[in-house]
């Protein structure tokens, strides 16, 4: 039941054409080492699901810069001009999703729901090609669940079982992404023997592999 993995195990899980969720909000809470390893692997045609496009040299922006991303699903790309440029050139498809909708779509997949009804996006271009459903005289958009092949998350601390807690605003999308992918890898800053059972944010059952900061990965 040892969840502590090394770089080779991580690299073996990467494939061309995968969908990968990456935690973080403008790269705060993004597992940069995993991003660097993906750059090194040079896998192609990825679909990346992340709150935003990061920066050109930080977060998922590094994968865009290295031309590994075919499609990006995000709520915001404003801090990475490279993403906008590649989109204009037709080299990158970007699907912009309201941030709260993205969060609920990911949570829905992890929780076995087919989707959720949100008022967000009604009478905007977000509603295009989506089903509208009226509940108690209010219109909602049906937004379907969103899963991925891999989720890459960052946490502050893991215990020996793989239970996780996060650090301040580096929490963001990490806990929900941990529930919504076929395989979930966590990059953690610290490992302790035990965590208080009341404060665990991500139960160990969601985590398939853990890489600890400053362990020897080569």
């Amino acid at each position: 039941m040892d969840k502590f993995i090394d770089k080779s195990t991580f690299l073996a899980a990467l494939h061309d054409g995968q969908s990968i969720m990456v935690g973080g909000f403008m790269a705060v809470g993004t597992p940069e080492m995993f991003i660097d390893w993906i750059v090194e692997s040079n896998v192609k045609d990825l679909t990346i699901i992340c709150n935003d496009a990061g920066f050109e040299h930080r977060g998922v922006g590094k994968l865009i810069a290295n031309n590994q991303v075919k499609k990006l699903i995000a709520s915001h790309i404003g801090l990475n001009p490279d993403a906008g440029k590649k989109m204009s050139q037709g080299a990158l498809t970007i699907e912009l999703v309201p941030q709260g909708t993205l969060a609920e779509q990911i949570r829905a997949h992890g929780a076995g729901l087919g989707g959720i009804l949100t008022p967000t996006g009604i009478k905007t271009i977000v509603e295009e090609n989506k089903q509208k459903i009226i509940v108690n005289d209010q219109a909602y958009l049906l937004e379907v669940a969103l899963g991925a092949d891999l989720a890459l998350i960052e946490a502050r601390t893991s215990d020996a079982y793989g239970n996780l807690v996060y650090d301040k605003t580096a929490r963001n999308f990490n806990p929900i992404m941990a529930t919504a992918a076929k395989h979930v890898f966590a990059y953690v800053h610290h490992v302790v023997k035990q965590l208080d059972p009341e404060i665990v944010v991500t139960p160990h059952i969601f985590i398939d592999g853990i890489v600890q900061k400053e362990a020897n990965h080569d």
């Binding site: 790269a27 705060v28 915001h76 309201p98 609920e104 650090d167």
Partner: protein
Amino acid sequence: MINPKAIIAARVAKELSDGDLVNLGIGLPTLVANYIPETMNVFLQSENGLIGLGPTPTDAQIDKNLTNAGAQYVTLKDGGMFFDSATSFGIIRGGHVDVTVLGALEVDQEGSLASWIIPGKLVPGMGGAMDLVVGAKKVIVATTHTNKGKPKIKKRCELPLTAYQEVDMIVTEMAVIEVRSDGLHLMERHPDVSIETIIEQTDAALIIGDVKIMEV
């Protein structure tokens, strides 16, 4: 009118009440925090996952994992706490935010807002703005009255919308405008700006009643 942004931020701050949960958008709205009286308990939420946003940290206080939704370093006040993005937007969409303040590319006389895309030119994305405008109890647009002379308060937004008919109030350096079911009511004007000037700089029709002078 030396600093339009300061005028706007100070006026928006007067809309906040003790105990309010408030989300301040990136840019101009962030300045509102500087004008909240210290005696008033206003709780600032940031959609990346906290309530209890405090003042900008000193260099020594900077924590790279403690930022606001604009990726700026912030601090956390006593009583503040952290949560994930689903919880954060549950708070926002669920009507638990009392006031959201955000900027505009265009806002119109039906209370619709455009703020996230200029097709073919600028595509930053909507981020959390669509959820905030739909979910918050009161939506205040804080914006300069015009974009270099071009009216931003329009009869009808031409850019893609952030949300349809959700704006409650527009605060500019010239005027305070309330959005009601019958249209835009000019409530206050800057002491140095005439009603005529405001009408001239506004594309939308304004309903003029008892117009007060903005406290600046």
